[in-house]
């Protein structure tokens, strides 16, 4: 019996090389766990029927010692908005329910070359709009720590699958917190790389100037291994950007910044503040200098974020018109096909954001909303670059509260948007950010995980790993 709970990529790799078990046996262990647990969690939209065949291929590579990497034979789950050629990629939407990807996303190409085994595609909020997977057209993902609560979102399926040992690692995507918030809710580690660090080619666009693909795992090493594999410039992504890969200077005292007044914003759970204060004390004990920093415009993050995201999302959703792929519903004429297809294919949140985006981009309101939000985004970016002249890392909680109950916020979209208060600034400024487990809040006998969020300047993913490792070890 393989101990999946304590398994890491490195341990699995060593066992596979030593022949203690095969890739097929490893994959089988995960498939059995999925069979046992996913009925009540619903992290997967589909478990692939060729998992064991993929694992056999990996076993052959290991046997022949040909092209073996740390990831050969490692089981991975993929969020349903990342394309794997020939397989369904639906973005948890009815409009793409039967759509087969026609090419591999760059990250998938890289993972295939590394020899991973794809277990299946994971649940998410439709087209990555939401924060709880309640907007999935195919049902909510339950939190493995408390089945009455959400797993978070939008990459809720990926985070829950990792937390419940239904995969070793998973890919998610993050537009405003969609990797970090579910990681925090499920008690695992999630990294949103800096914008442009991981290719977006083959990731279905939500808000193109915010989206990044990243890894979710149980350990920092696992997340780093996947990050190393999928990152790098790509000619297929026009916003791909060289990442300098800066580490913390070991010979200098690490400076950690806390945004002044931000953590105690309205609506933040008092247990989150208590837990965060404890984390700050712990970081001080690690020998870091903790200083308060001023981020003047950070209080406008959510307002600017949503304005821009509505605009970009509504533009990106225009391609789903029923013409070339996906659902087509017959109307009276060609244009009526559009109206009918979108009405039948999109869920309520997607429609809401299309309307909102159309509003903020309409000629009469463009300057007041879209342009203004872009100016605010620039000011926030400047605030961060000034702050990073003084500190190496900035910390905040990942979320304003622990995982909430299924159904608790779904009827009030604005309440759900406010959940993203701590995570959106990283996407506005294109910064790398990571959520790591930082403790629990006990509610009715259930231990609900809480997360600590770390940000660095562009190129600083390694700094996040450095500090997180110290934090985890102490």
């Amino acid at each position: 019996m393989i101990d999946l709970k304590n398994l890491t990529i490195k341990k699995a790799h060593e066992s596979l090389i030593k022949g203690e078990y095969s890739c097929v046996e490893l994959a089988q262990a995960y498939l059995e766990n999925i069979k046992e647990k996913d009925g009540e969690i619903h992290a997967y939209l589909e478990v692939f029927d060729d998992v064991l065949e993929q694992a056999k291929e990996a076993d052959k590579k290991i046997k022949d010692n040909k092209d073996v990497t740390l990831l050969t034979g490692i089981p991975i789950a993929v969020k349903d908005n990342i394309l794997i050629k020939g397989r369904i990629a639906s973005s948890a939407s009815k409009i793409l329910e039967n759509y087969h990807a026609t090419y591999d996303a760059t990250v998938i190409k890289k993972l295939k070359e590394a020899g991973v085994v794809f277990l299946g595609r994971t649940n998410m909020d439709e087209f990555a709009m939401g924060g709880s997977t309640e907007n999935s057209a195919f049902g909510v993902t339950h939190n493995p720590n408390d089945l009455e609560r959400v797993s978070g979102g939008t990459s809720g399926g990926s985070a829950a699958a990792v937390a419940a040992d239904m995969t070793l690692v998973a890919l998610g995507s993050d537009t405003g917190g969609s990797i970090r918030q579910p990681s925090s809710f499920c008690g695992v580690i999630g990294l949103k790389p800096g914008y442009g660090t991981v290719s977006r080619s083959g990731l279905m666009a939500a808000a193109s100037s915010f989206d990044q693909i990243g890894a979710i795992g149980k350990t920092l090493e696992d997340v780093r291994t996947v990050f190393d594999c999928i990152s790098g410039t790509d000619s297929l992504d026009s916003t791909s950007r060289e990442n300098k890969g800066v580490s913390l200077n070991e010979n200098k005292k690490v400076k950690v910044g806390i945004p002044n007044g931000f953590v105690t914003s309205k609506g933040v759970d008092k247990d989150i503040i208590r837990n965060f204060t404890e984390s700050v004390e712990k970081i001080k004990k690690l020998g870091c200098e903790v200083i308060e920093i001023d981020l003047e415009h950070i209080k406008y993050s959510l307002a600017a974020y949503y304005t821009l995201v509505f605009a970009e999302e509504s533009s990106n959703m225009a391609r789903f018109d029923g013409m070339r792929y996906g659902l087509r519903v017959d109307g009276q004429n060609g244009v009526d096909d559009y109206f009918k297809t979108k009405a039948a294919g999109f869920g309520p949140e997607v429609k809401r954001r299309i309307i909102l985006g159309t509003y903020v981009l309409s000629s009469g309101y463009y300057d007041a909303y879209y342009n203004k939000a872009n100016i605010v985004r620039d000011l926030i970016r400047e605030d961060y670059s000034k702050a990073f002249e003084k500190v190496d890392i900035i910390i905040t909680p990942t979320t304003p509260g622990p995982a909430f109950k299924i159904g608790e916020k779904i009827n009030d979209p604005l309440q759900l948007y406010l959940e993203d208060i701590f995570t959106v600034p990283a996407n506005l400024a294109g910064l790398p950010a990571m959520s790591i487990p930082a403790g629990f809040k006990e509610v009715n006998g259930k231990k609900l995980p809480l997360g600590l969020q770390l940000f660095a300047a562009h190129g600083g993913e390694e700094k996040l790993f450095n500090l997180a490792k110290d934090f985890e070890n102490n």
């Binding site: 916003t239 307002a303 225009a318 070339r324 792929y325 109206f339 979108k342 909102l356």
Partner: protein
């Protein structure tokens, strides 16, 4: 905002909404816009010129790198309706 504004936006976005959806969106969208209106408080810098960021367009020559026709089959297989290798849509004129 009124129902007719929602209808106008839906028409611009080429999306059909039910009466119930229109009512719900009117209420929700108003609340969201009230929140988003905060950005209007950022004053004095509104006419500031946008700075060029660190991102640069990644350019490449517009050349077909793969074998011609290699994706035809997989792409046409996804057409909602087709006639031979052609995508079938309703008459436009």
């Amino acid at each position: 905002m009124e129902i007719k504004d929602i209808e106008k936006l839906a028409k611009l976005a080429r999306i059909e909404l039910t009466e119930d959806e229109k009512q719900a969106y009117l209420k929700e969208i108003e609340a969201i816009l009230v929140y988003v209106d905060q950005i209007k408080e950022v004053v004095g810098k509104a006419d500031k010129e946008r700075k060029v960021g660190d991102l640069r367009n990644v350019m490449r020559t517009d050349e077909v790198e793969s074998e011609s026709g290699i994706s035809t089959e997989v792409i046409t297989a996804e057409f909602p309706q087709k006639q031979g290798n052609y995508l079938k849509v309703k008459k436009i004129l």
